[in-house]
Amino acid sequence: MSATSITIGLAASPSTTTSRKGGFFVKKAFFICALLIYGLLMFNQRQSRAEKMSHKDFATMELKDCNSCHKEQGIPLTHDNDWAGRHHQNTDWMGEHRALAGKAGTNCIECHAQSFCNDCHIGGGVNPALRTPNFKRNYMPKNHRSDFISIHPLKAKDNQQACIRCHNQKFCSDCHSRFPKGSLRIKSHRPAGANNQIYAASNWAIDHSAEARRNLMSCQTCHPSGDVCIQCHGSGKVRPHPRNWKAGNFKERGGIKVCLKCHLPGTF
């Protein structure tokens, strides 16, 4: 951390001046390349015989009927071979669509209103399928299967990014904080008297760090302020940062509030 800070604080030395010149050249080269690529693309677009067309006029068509046009142009359907004629039910559309939908100017909107996204991602329920369950007044997509409250700890460990595509990280704390402290069964914690739990491990140093590194988001769920982490890591004896820690990057953006939880002012 300190090494990064020192580098940032140095005045321009001959070596940094050289690297700036080099950087300028790289930027110039990058700019020229970008212009060339743009020109090439523009030329190529003009040559293109079949321009991408609006799908608005075909929005009500059965997906299986789209093939007649798509096959001619050699473009498989975005929604794959929907055998049942019910959009997105037969193939891996759920996992795949983020690559395309996560793009500005996507043509999803030509057939789908935003409510189509909202009903899965934000819990809307103006037109839910009969199979769609609800938690309280919010509707849930079908990957929240069976008793999702019971099995979500398993699912949440699979791929932490999957949860935060729809839920802000504060969502987890908002729910967990409503239960009495110590009442939730956590794999690595054991009861410690009334309304309390303690981390149980045969080898504290190894076990807790391995678990935290694999699923830090679950720690945050019940300890949003990180109070339990700071008890030890705040002493300075155990460095929690990753090897290539870019302290300056975080300070520039988020300020020093986080740093001050462990470091004294002027020491970092």
Binding site: D92, K103, L216
Partner: protein
Amino acid sequence: MGYKMGLLRTVLFGTVLLTASSALAAELRGRASTQYLWFNNIFDGDKQAEFAQHLNFSLTNIDPDKKLSLHGYGRLSQDVMNGDGLDGRLFYLYADYRDLMDKLDVRLGRQFVNYAAGSSLIDGGMIDLKNIGPVAFSVMGGRNVFYGIDGELTNSKDWVFGTAAYLTGYPTTDAELSYYLKFDKYGIAREQIGAMFRHYLFGGLKLYGNTRFDMASETFDEILAGAKYFVNNNLVVTGEWFQSYPVFDYTSIYSVFAVDRYQEGVFRTDYTINKMFAVRGAYKYQDYGSNTEGHVFEAGLKVRPFETLMLDVAYDRRQGYAGDLDGFTLDIQYDYTPNLQLAGGVAYDVYQKDSMTGNTTAQTYWLGTRYRLNKTMSFDARLQDNVNVGNFDHDWSGRLAFNYDF
């Protein structure tokens, strides 16, 4: 405060709708759904029942050039049993003006924005600049809106901004490069660069991928690369590799901790045998780092013995880090008449969070029906029993809905 804001938005929502609907040439389409829901509240163990009103509309053809449209979607609910009060959620309410000078699309209001670098529900605006060549540009910004269990958790200083450049006009290629910046009350909470790519080759091969690069930690916090091969109209083979490096808001203490990279590889096949049968199977290898792994197997079968009946069975088995899960879902849907649909299903999971807990089951059973009274009105009913849930032996819940399409 949040409650008042929600109420205010709902009033605005209604006002705009009424005002807009009075425009003579305009075309108003949408759905109003009046619902009655009942369930057990897991937080206090009491039964709860609510009336909810959903409204989704699109108002088009407002101006002579048909460039302006209004879109809205919201929900208002009132608990009538447990004292949980009034709750509102405005999913979106925005004005969309397309093809301004044949080059600009402008969207103002609450809306869902989605770039490769990040997505958000915002109170703000989004402008797309197009028809200037093979690359189009987009810029967006506004108040970042996000929800907790019962309402908005947004603070007054939660903002997001973003910009994107994307390829346009190519039938076989999509690509985007974008930038996403998120603020909270302490400063910049997230700064990311994202990219996506999709390309069709040889008429039957699709390559796709997306990535996000976190500027503060200087790591790729997400990478997806996939290929889908359409062997023929009935057989699709998919291979994917995904990795993520969890990142946290820079203003959170959790952003300073070291984490492990997560990776997964997926192989999946979807095969439509004939008009009656379709099958699918998938294997997912999960690598949590430090020699910790998981294996997920999925198999599915869809049967449509005749046009009006469909059965969908899915089997899941996962083993390894995070616990074991072995279960299936079965959904049946039967169109008894063109206007009456009957449906039902089971989800049965045996899971083990760790060796101390042993096997536990999670089961849900549900029945539902949809009756279409005429072209504009329909009625839904759904009943569910959740067995072996932690707080209730039989957690009964259900809903009745009257839907009006206009």
